[in-house]
């Protein structure tokens, strides 16, 4: 299944460090919004694949697998009191 949500947690540095701002990002509406554009881009993708001698259906399958595998990825950065955490669900 593709990632359906993500959370971005930001703890800004400065005068009042320690308070972390949690920003939930529902990805399902993002996918739904992107779907028409993806459908429109599909013929271009197929032409590009054929021009590059790449099997288009296999490429689509691999891209789908990559997207699905992104779930549970977590990346965090910390510098001084500032930290950013991105968690994909």
């Amino acid at each position: 299944m593709i990632p359906l949500a993500a959370v971005i947690a930001v703890r800004p540095g400065g005068r009042s460090p320690g308070r972390r701002l949690w920003i939930p990002v529902p990805l399902l509406p993002v996918w739904l919004l992107a779907l028409p554009f993806l459908v429109l881009a599909l013929p271009i993708f197929f032409i590009a694949c054929l021009a590059g001698r790449v099997k288009p259906f296999r490429a689509l399958r691999v891209l789908w697998l990559l997207l699905c595998a992104l779930r549970t990825t977590r990346v965090s950065f910390e510098h001084r009191a500032t930290s950013v955490l991105v968690h994909i669900y």
Binding site: V54, L66, A69, T73, V75, F77, E78, H79
Partner: protein, 142 residues
């Protein structure tokens, strides 16, 4: 006769325990403690790694930048499949470029079938990079 068994029989003679209780106690004494090999078998097997962790610490002027990345190994599997869609001609070019940079890797030889074995071995992987004095990188599976 062992001391434990004699003690149980003494308790039975004194009427402190019943015959059934004495039988159970003697049975427990005869069974003895579980051998070490048996307990080793009961131990929980090591679980397969699910994530690749990269932790980097960069020290700059008494400040530290920490980067902590946890990537599911499933992404690694998908990434290897990505290599399978690269045209053969391009694969050859990539192999040549890698060889020139001292990495004798043949992309066509990496197949999804061999990937599970590779990931199993990644479970024991721990890489510590301490080349730069201010940089410390840890790569491991969990």
């Amino acid at each position: 006769m062992s001391d434990s068994r004699r003690q149980v029989l003494d308790m039975l003679t004194a009427g402190q325990i019943t015959v059934d209780e004495a039988d159970r106690l003697i049975g427990a004494i005869e069974d003895g403690p579980a051998p070490a090999a048996a307990t080793a078998l009961v131990e929980r097997p090591a679980t397969a790694p699910r994530y690749l962790r990269v932790i980097a610490n960069v020290a700059e002027d008494e400040e530290t930048i920490k980067v902590n990345v946890r990537v599911p190994l499933q992404l690694l599997r998908a990434g290897v499949r990505l290599a399978s869609i690269i045209p053969a001609q391009v694969q050859g070019e990539i192999d040549t470029a890698l060889r020139q940079h001292g990495v004798p890797l043949d992309l066509s030889q990496i197949k999804p079938e061999n990937l599970d074995e590779l990931i199993d071995h990644l479970g024991d992987l721990t890489v510590d990079v301490d080349g730069e004095p201010n940089l410390k990188v840890q790569v491991f599976c969990e």
